[in-house]
């Protein structure tokens, strides 16, 4: 983050302004990625008018960075109408997340004319047989890369988003080489997250500890391996008084149905813009304020963990494990792969369990079984 953006973020934090918001325009998609956390059926997306109204409210609330994502945003027939409204009328700094397979020369030119900050495109491998086996769409890698070239030719900033999973764990170097050849940036994310409805079955696609260790010791990714893999200094009072992340503080997420969540990875419903004003949900939702109240010192288990000051702990993933103040096991595994030191959560899970003896049948269970 640039110094000035950091400064503006601190100002937004102090004034409770939602500086950056991701809006998913649809959950519909033209790919069927094996690791996707979304239900692709349309359960009543916001209309064009509803989205424009939301954007008006967001601009009024001070939102500056607006990310349009999905699902596949180009499946919305009104996508360009929404994009033009966001850019030309409301002057948002717009970022796009897409698989890009619907972007051809004409779409690339139109995006250039409207002006966006960046376009992030999901690329899982440099090898079609791997990428297409993840998206379940034959020919999808070729179409996505064609789009990258169209966008690049128009001078647009493109970022290849490479999500690592068991199927493509060894291919990130190939994707990075491809990005270098195309003259675009590349990001790497080694985390598969549970589905929005809590279904955790896709977590089995996560890369294993060996693959994580390899990624965290790749100098081309992390810079100084010794520095990156060192255990963080013990947490002092300032660290323990700090925020776990920006979710609900300067960022939030809006679903295609108008629901507001603290983050795309934090499916705690805090309100719906179809019923309330965006700013009222942001400022007054009890759940949003509950998320905001959490400091590192408030975390169960993690506060006493040796990784607390250097962990990538995601409160959304912790919430999906059952407690937004609890540990996020996936981040415990990352800290372990990075440093070789198990987290407090991992150690606690290894302790012999207490045998629970049920001494009374619960009423709900009784009624359910009658």
């Amino acid at each position: 983050m640039s110094g000035l953006l950091e400064e503006m973020t601190q100002k937004a934090l102090a004034r409770n302004i939602p500086l950056s918001v991701q809006v998913d325009l649809t959950y519909r998609c033209n790919e069927r990625c094996v690791h996707c956390y979304l239900d692709h059926d349309d359960h009543g997306e916001m209309t064009t008018a509803e989205i424009k109204h939301l954007l008006d409210e967001m601009a009024e609330a001070g939102v500056f960075i607006l990310t349009f994502s999905g699902g596949e945003i180009f499946l919305r027939k009104d996508f360009f109408e929404i994009l033009e409204y966001a850019r030309r009328r409301l002057l948002f700094c717009v970022k796009l997340k897409t698989n890009a397979i619907l972007i051809r020369e004409a779409e690339a030119a139109r995006i250039r004319d409207i002006g966006v900050e960046s376009i992030q495109i999901s690329i899982y491998s440099h090898r079609p047989e791997i990428h297409d086996a993840i998206t379940l769409v034959p020919g999808s890698l070729k179409r996505s890369l064609d789009a990258v070239r169209f966008l690049k030719a128009h001078g647009l900033r493109v970022v290849l988003a490479n999500v690592l999973m068991a199927q493509n764990a060894g291919d990130y170097r190939g994707v990075r080489a491809l990005a270098a050849e195309l003259g675009v940036e590349c990001s790497l994310d080694p985390t598969i997250t549970p589905m929005m409805d809590g279904n955790r079955s896709i977590l089995s696609l996560n890369v294993d500890q060996d693959a994580l260790r390899q990624v965290f010791r790749d100098q081309s990714l992390v810079g100084s391996v010794d520095e990156f893999c060192a255990i963080a200094a013990p947490a002092d009072d300032n660290t323990l008084a700090s925020l776990p992340c920006s979710a609900g503080h300067t960022n939030c997420y809006v679903s295609p149905y108008g629901e507001i969540f603290p983050c795309v990875q934090f499916p705690l419903p805090t309100g719906n813009v179809r019923k309330q004003r965006f700013i009222d949900i942001w400022r007054h939702s009890e759940r949003m304020n509950d998320v905001r109240s959490i400091r590192l010192k408030d975390l169960t288990t993690c506060t006493s963990c040796s990784h607390v000051s250097g962990c990538s702990r995601c409160p959304g993933l912790a919430y999906m494990e059952g407690n937004m103040r609890g540990p996020s096991t996936q981040d415990c595994e990352k800290s372990f792969a990075r440093t070789g030191v198990p987290s407090a959560n991992m150690l606690a899970k290894k302790r012999p369990g207490i045998n629970l003896v049920q001494i009374q049948v619960l009423p709900a269970m009784t009624s359910a079984t009658v």
């Binding site: 640039s2 503006m8 001070g62 500056f64 717009v94 900033r157």
Partner: protein
């Protein structure tokens, strides 16, 4: 001196954060914050009001400054903002454009 007209570059991103204007350049995504004078200039840059009128009606009323000095400073500022592709400058009025928040 010919009249100058200034217009907001429609390709930038802009937002007022608690009174302070943030602008992101379309050219290279560089972020700028505008001081009070530059913010007035940005907000007044509708493409049809001449710069000398903006100085007379918006800047001289806000700051204790002589009109000629203010006009010179405003022109220099407008050219600097134009060099970052935040504003556009012309000796002729621009077609009407969108607003900012």
């Amino acid at each position: 001196m010919n009249k100058l007209f200034v217009a907001r570059n429609p390709r930038v991103a802009a937002r007022s954060l608690d009174g302070e204007m943030m602008i992101m350049s379309a050219r290279d995504s560089t972020l700028f914050t505008l001081n009070k004078t530059a913010t007035i200039l940005w907000q007044s840059a509708d493409g049809t009001t001449p710069l000398d009128e903006i100085v007379q009606n918006r800047i001289c009323t806000e700051f204790e400054v002589e009109r000629e000095v203010a006009l010179q400073d405003a022109e220099a500022l407008a050219r600097e903002l134009a060099s970052h592709e935040i504003l556009q400058i012309s000796e002729h009025p621009f077609p009407p454009a969108g607003g900012s928040r």
